[in-house]
Symmetry: C2
Subunit: 331 residues, 2 copies
């Protein structure tokens, strides 16, 4: 097992990324290859205890946050995110973790490793902390204009993922809409509903935005535009509640220790959402394991992303998705 | 001034609706016509002090929550929501308030009063409590498959509304997308962006879901599917935080009075969102004032919906939207 980490990607790269990688090696014993500028990474690594399990694979270039993903990935053959996927392609690594430009991670994954047979569009899945354990929201931003067949494929991929990586037996799939009846939703959703209903998948019908955290279904399918809006609305609401509570506490005569407790309770929920536990969002549909981390990931998030990347590779998630897609296509 | 209230619409109709109407009459002095079954409404009204300002307009029928809106509105000529709009059409009332089937309110408004010139699709606006005061999110569910021109018209209508009814001078308009750059978003949003940018409107560019409560823009435009998902995600997040905090407090040794305070702080935010203050969501683009209330509206929400309905009619919002749409079309 070896996880290739894009050391140059992320708002706090390379320092925090290296810190997370070192933690994955020392605390979890997972071998890591840091991909990026040898000199720069070497200097940062000097501050830590040496280990055989961590190595540096040099490359000169990187994709910046403000670059056009596909163009940058095509032109920069020596960019860290490309080289990380090259290591998986050659068999030198088993998975990629990156907190860089998410469009570039997607583009590099597809370009270097290719798509699994039966997948038209790879998608980014987000792990959502529900009442009943982790759930999956897919797609959260890889594809902004989806056809019903794309949504259907997202469902098949996420079901295989939830089963093999989250340990959920026969995961229930819901379709994000604006009412439970099958007639509800836009045209894309109504046509997708029919595809799911007529398939052999464990389809529970439409769900609404308010059901996101209930856990009544294990997978919620939507197009990447809607999913990304939803993720960011969640962020916005949590911030707004946090600000409101802070403001109310400051303008009242509440005991400071009580105010702190209230704040902490809300922050606890925020942390649950912050990918920290799951480290990042799996990129599903490419022939390999890729974890898309938040640009502002902490070292803890990077460490956990490396942990889940190794776990997903161990679980042979790509083979399982291939099987699921094959069964659906033939069935 | 007279507000026609659909007394038969809503989960708690007619009792709670009548209670709200009586409060609008007694506390605010706004004349109200209750539309519904005379016998039933008379019995409920018997419990309150009589007033010249409240009257009943009898009709036999109503549209139920589970009916297909357009079909029901077309067939049931004597349904309360149709009759309420008939009263506006004939000049006997100035605005309609309903907590009934929102699709039926939209269908009846369009069928009876017609659309303002320049409006292809009337839309439902939701008032959002931002950091800097009330903002507008439009559309939140009337139209699930929009073309860029529809989104543009939503912006024009909401700008006129924010100006004349919320008192915001030169309201700033944002377009809901998944990144601030104009290249971000799906095709619908990218094309809409161009329409806004090339217009004379005060367009601030794309905004994201996390900006919903910031108040950096006064109007956020999106299609009805996305807007409705966003509204329900907000509801879901607030519920999830509330449940999480409750659970953490119950399993800890927190002083019950402190636990209550924390709960109350979160509930305070919930109430802000619950339409209670603004009473409901204005239906923009029809030739008249219509307020769509939440099905589960309290009497306070109904009272406030009547208050804002009277205010919007007083402000001649329809004339102002007509002017704004005319100026844009000609300009």
């Amino acid at each position: 097992m070896n996880v290739a980490v894009d050391a140059m990607g992320g708002d706090n790269a390379p320092e925090v990324v290296v810190e997370g990688a070192v933690a994955a090696v020392s605390e979890l014993g997972i071998p890591v290859t840091l991909v990026g500028r040898r000199e720069k990474l070497g200097k940062i690594l000097d501050a830590y205890k040496t280990s055989d399990l961590i190595s540096v694979h040099h490359c000169e270039d990187m994709v910046h946050m403000d670059e056009t993903p596909l163009k940058a990935v095509r032109q920069k053959k020596d960019a860290s995110i490309r080289v990380a996927f090259d290591l998986v392609k050659s068999g030198a690594a088993d998975a990629v973790v990156s907190a860089g430009n998410s469009g570039a991670i997607l583009a590099a994954g597809v370009l270097i490793l290719g798509r699994i047979k039966g997948v038209d569009r790879p998608a980014i899945a987000s792990i959502v902390p529900t009442e009943k354990g982790p759930g999956v929201l897919i797609d959260v931003g890889a594809n902004v204009d989806c056809r019903p067949t794309h949504l259907f494929q997202f469902g098949v991929m996420a079901q295989a993922f939830a089963n093999s990586c989250l340990g959920i037996e026969n995961p229930r799939i819901g379709l994000l809409s604006i009412g439970e009846e099958k007639s509800k939703g836009n045209e894309q959703v109504r046509l997708s509903h029919r595809l799911f209903r007529e398939s052999s998948l464990n389809f529970a019908g439409n769900v609404e935005g308010r059901d996101l955290f209930d856990g009544d279904v294990d997978v919620i399918v939507c197009d990447g535009f809607v999913g990304n809006v939803a993720l960011k609305v969640i962020e916005g609401v949590v911030e707004a509640i946090s600000r409101n509570v802070k403001h109310e506490l400051e303008t009242s005569e509440t005991d400071p220790s009580v105010a702190l407790l209230c704040q902490n309770l809300i922050n606890r929920f925020k942390q649950k959402l912050d990918y920290e536990e799951y480290g990042g969002a799996p990129l599903l549909g490419i022939k390999g394991v890729g974890i898309v981390c938040h640009g502002g990931s902490s070292s803890k998030a990077i460490k956990n992303a490396i942990r889940v990347a190794a776990q997903y590779a161990d679980n042979r998630i790509v083979d399982k998705m291939s099987l699921a897609l094959g069964a659906i296509t033939e069935g």
